[in-house]
Amino acid sequence: MNERNGFDERLRQARAREGLDKRPEGRGNLPQGPWGIGLRAGVEVVSALGVGIGIGFLLDRWLGTWPWLFLVFFVLGSVAGVGNVYRLFMPRPGGK
């Protein structure tokens, strides 16, 4: 009896592994410790801010509008950084 139950379970697992059955979609299981999350959030904010500042600075150099585009993209970069952290904790609803 026990043997048969074990077989069904293994068959189900094997079918899921080979993609014959649909599997529930799992989403990232990154390191969940406080340090992991904290460092990740920090890196996300800084990198988005850096990209925003970089784009603003380059556009200003190109168009000669210093410092207006720099300021605009500084704000946009901060928003993107906060957005990244928000997405870190509230992943987009899966499925669709």
Partner: protein, 251 residues
């Protein structure tokens, strides 16, 4: 080497210098490149040893190769789904290259090529560009709807679209900075505490006893660095698969 005139010189370990004599000078073949070649060769030998033997009950080397293979295979399958199978070789190559880079750096006299932003940024750029190309291939022009979520009010478009584009570009930066910063910080700490051992050891009769404290810290740090070496390679690979998931499924 580390101690020059009683100062702490923690950053010279990241300097590049040509190796292999005249040949190295001619083509600027640095120790960073040398260790990249070593990492690729080791990966190749490990995989060859795994595939050649093919024993039903694996030996040590085969078990190592198989567990690395199955680890990444399972990760890609869980993160990307069944469509992700064809991207497995890409993720596996990236993972092994980063992992061997981090681990080779733990050997004395070795060079950690993942501690250079130029290397990690190139790796991240390769990931970013391939993910974007895959998304464009699978979804065509529909890919650009990624930058404007459905249901958002249209008048917000001038704000949301630049923010989403910056956020998409920042993936490349955060992926590279995370790996680079972790490796640099770890190796600088190791070097600083190792220098403390030397400096304090020279304090006469009591020196060796005081020097035992930074030495103990360094022993713990080496263990911690091995953890970081594995963890950062894992994080790099899993983020690659998460980005692949976004490219394949495109919310």
């Amino acid at each position: 080497m580390a101690v020059e005139g009683k100062t702490i010189d923690a950053l010279s370990q990241f300097e590049l210098s040509p190796v292999l004599g005249v040949f190295g000078h001619a083509v600027s073949f640095s120790q960073s490149n040398l260790f990249m070649v070593v990492a690729v060769a080791l990966t190749w030998f490990l995989m060859k040893a795994t595939a050649d033997r093919g024993a039903l009950v694996p030996g040590r080397l085969q078990a190592l190769g198989e567990s690395a293979y199955e680890f990444i295979q399972g990760m890609v399958r869980d993160q990307v789904g069944d469509e992700g199978k064809k991207y497995f070789p890409f993720v596996f190559s990236i993972f092994m290259f980063v992992l061997f880079g981090n681990l080779l750096g733990m050997l004395p006299y070795a060079f950690t090529y993942t501690s250079h932003i130029a290397v990690t940024l190139t790796l991240a750029a390769v990931v970013w560009v391939s993910v974007t190309v895959i998304a464009l291939q699978r979804h065509g022009m529909h890919f650009f709807s990624y930058f404007f979520p459905e249901g958002a009010p249209t008048w917000l478009a001038p704000i949301i679209i630049p923010v989403e584009i910056i956020s998409y570009l920042s993936r490349m930066v955060s992926l590279s900075v995370r790996l680079f910063a972790n490796m640099v910080a770890g190796h600088v700490m190791l070097k600083v505490f190792a220098t403390f051992v030397v400096l304090l050891g020279g304090l006469g009769a009591v020196g060796p006893f005081i020097a035992a404290m930074p030495l103990a810290v360094n022993v713990a740090l080496v263990g911690f660095e091995f953890l970081v070496a594995f963890l950062q390679a894992y994080v790099f690979a899993i983020l690659t698969s998460i980005y692949l998931h976004d490219a394949v499924h495109l919310h």
